[in-house]
């Protein structure tokens, strides 16, 4: 319950913070910290233009499932189920973009699919790695695991997970589907045909997702809560930093590198764990 109410607030603030830090890194002043909220409030007041009426419905389901995913996660449920729910949510977004039937949203949808394909293995491997150490898929059990923090046993998986965060946070090297930086090429990709309230929904879903993913980062340090929170925030800054350092990547490189990372870091880590067992 706390998550349902607090996550959009925290997520929104984090995004505001993100924009400010990014601006500072580019020696700009940046928008107010509450800017994401202003944006969403504004979008809610705008007219909602659609190509196909049902496209908004998919986005609504996307939001519902993202919230559901986060709810499952913070309720200490099964990590695999959480991943599946998250995937389902993302699928609805992609279908919505397909439904919108414009060339730009098609390309965006297909790129989003490629991105999903790129990060999915690593995310699943993360869950498997956590299971191998704690012997449970339950988030509750993993969070309550007493022993050395997971990150010491799963360094490869931790790094691999950070890599996928770059995609999930929709940062520039991997923001290939909604294109925060490439207006000319595919307009706004996935989100091109969404406006007003629907766009606001996507934004809010993003906030929820952000909090949930940082919660996952925290799991790596669950036995040291304060360190965990600190590192989660640090990771967030790190991702922003990477965003600002690297320019653009092609989608081919995205999937290749993500799979390579999953295969080397993720799989390597699991192999070592299973040999140690």
């Amino acid at each position: 319950m706390v998550y349902l109410l607090a996550a959009p607030l925290v997520g929104g603030l984090l995004v505001g913070w993100d924009r400010r830090i990014s601006a500072r890194m580019q020696s700009r002043q940046g928008p107010p910290i509450f800017q994401p909220f202003y944006d969403v409030f504004k979008l809610c007041k705008k007219e909602n233009i659609v190509v196909r009426r049902s496209q908004n419905y998919y986005v609504a389901l996307f939001l519902v499932f993202v919230i559901f995913t986060g709810g499952l996660f913070f309720a200490g449920s099964d990590l695999l189920l959480v991943i599946f729910a998250l995937t389902l949510a993302a699928i609805f977004l992609v279908l919505g973009a397909y439904k919108a039937s414009s060339p730009f949203s098609f390309i965006g949808a297909e790129r989003e699919l490629i991105q999903m394909m790129a990060y999915e293995p690593m995310v699943l491997l993360t869950a498997i790695g956590m299971y191998m150490v704690t012997k449970s898929f339950q988030v509750g059990d993993i969070a309550g695991y007493h022993g050395v923090p997971l990150v010491f046993l799963l360094p490869g998986i931790f790094l691999g997970f950070l890599y996928t965060l770059e995609i999930k946070f929709r940062k520039s090297p991997f923001d290939l589907s909604s294109s925060h930086h490439a207006h000319q090429e595919l307009v706004r990709g996935l989100t091109t045909e969404f406006s007003g309230r629907t766009l606001a929904m996507i934004e809010i879903a993003h906030w929820y997702e952000l909090v949930f993913l940082l919660g996952w980062v925290y799991l790596f340090f669950a036995s040291m809560p304060i360190l965990g929170v600190a590192v989660s925030l640090l990771v967030f800054v790190l991702v922003i930093f990477v965003d600002n350092v690297f320019a653009r990547l092609k989608w081919q490189a995205a999937i290749r590198s993500a799979w390579a990372v999953a295969a080397v870091l993720g799989f390597g880590n699991i192999l070592i764990l299973s040999l140690l067992r």
Partner: protein, 300 residues
């Protein structure tokens, strides 16, 4: 109005600019001016944008694009014409392919002069546009609540007084351009209107009993003549005029084509007519020093 004022997302289009104003517009986004401080984001997607920044005069090639982008922007939306060319056509004003400023194509809310316009002026224009944006939102809200109750029906002779008062309001702009004596809507008297009401087809739009718009026309030789379509300024750009025109066309059945004529200097009305599918087909002089332009549309 929380939110709307703090988060103007802009879309920038170069109609035929020499790039001077474009560079200045983009300069606003750079660290030196950093308009993101004000929440401004440059989005490439008209469906995400609130403010339409146009640079350059409107030439034949860019008419369709300007209209297209404008139509795709969700309400409330405002247009800022940046630079001398976008405001009036500038030095290209008399060119064969230039129709003039951007306001000859779409309604413009804020004009930012300059050649090229300075970034400070552009930022100021955007801030002024915010005020226009709020006005649009207010109008939308007022209409939004009542829009379902907009009734479109035949006007009767009892409406004459109210129609007269509406047309005096609506034709003000024309009056300032041509002089009041040259605008029929402004010089018409009540008895004349009452007579006209019996001869021509009148469609009125009312919100909660209040008259907000009128369209009138008549039939002759299988051609429907649209005399005028007027909407109270408060309800402009809400689709009332479009709907009135449609209803009027419906009320004139069996017509092969429709024709409408307006003063040559009423550029906004001309642009509006073109958005309704009317095409320009001739120009003549109606009174000394006053030219009229004629638009027509074939019935499909």
């Amino acid at each position: 109005m929380f939110g709307l004022k703090q988060s103007p997302w802009v879309i920038h289009y170069d109609a035929s600019s020499c790039n001077g104003c474009d560079i200045e517009t983009l300069a606003c986004l750079t660290p030196g001016f950093d308009v993101e401080r004000l929440g401004v984001l440059n989005t490439g997607d008209p469906k995400h944008a609130d403010i339409f920044l146009v640079t350059g005069a409107a030439n034949e090639q860019s008419h369709a694009v300007i209209r297209n982008i404008y139509d795709q922007m969700p309400e409330p939306k405002v247009v800022v014409a940046i630079g001398a060319c976008a405001c009036t056509g500038g030095i290209f004003r008399e060119c064969y392919n230039i129709s003039g400023g951007v306001d000859t194509v779409i309604p413009v809310d804020v004009f930012v002069p300059g050649c090229a316009a300075r970034p400070e002026a552009i930022i100021d224009g955007v801030v002024q546009a915010l005020a226009a944006l709020m006005d649009r939102r207010k109008a939308m809200k007022a209409l939004g609540k009542n829009v379902d109750q907009v009734l479109y029906s035949r006007a009767e002779s009892a409406d004459a007084a109210r129609i007269l008062s509406l047309q005096k309001t609506a034709h003000q702009q024309e009056g300032t351009i041509y002089g009041e004596e040259h605008v029929p809507g402004l010089v018409q008297t009540l008895p004349a209107l009452e007579v006209e009401l019996t001869q021509r087809v009148f469609i009125k739009a009312t919100v909660n009993g209040r008259l907000v718009g009128v369209a009138r026309g008549y039939a002759q030789d299988r051609t429907g003549f649209i005399s005028d379509v007027i909407v109270h300024p408060y309800f402009h750009r809400c689709g009332v005029g479009r709907r009135l025109l449609e209803e009027l066309e419906k009320a004139l059945p069996d017509m092969n084509r429709f024709e409408a004529s307006i003063g040559d200097k009423c550029v906004e009305s001309a642009a509006w007519l073109q958005r309704q599918g009317y095409e320009l087909y001739k120009t003549d002089s109606w009174r000394p020093a006053i030219a009229r332009v004629y638009f027509q549309k074939e019935r499909k």
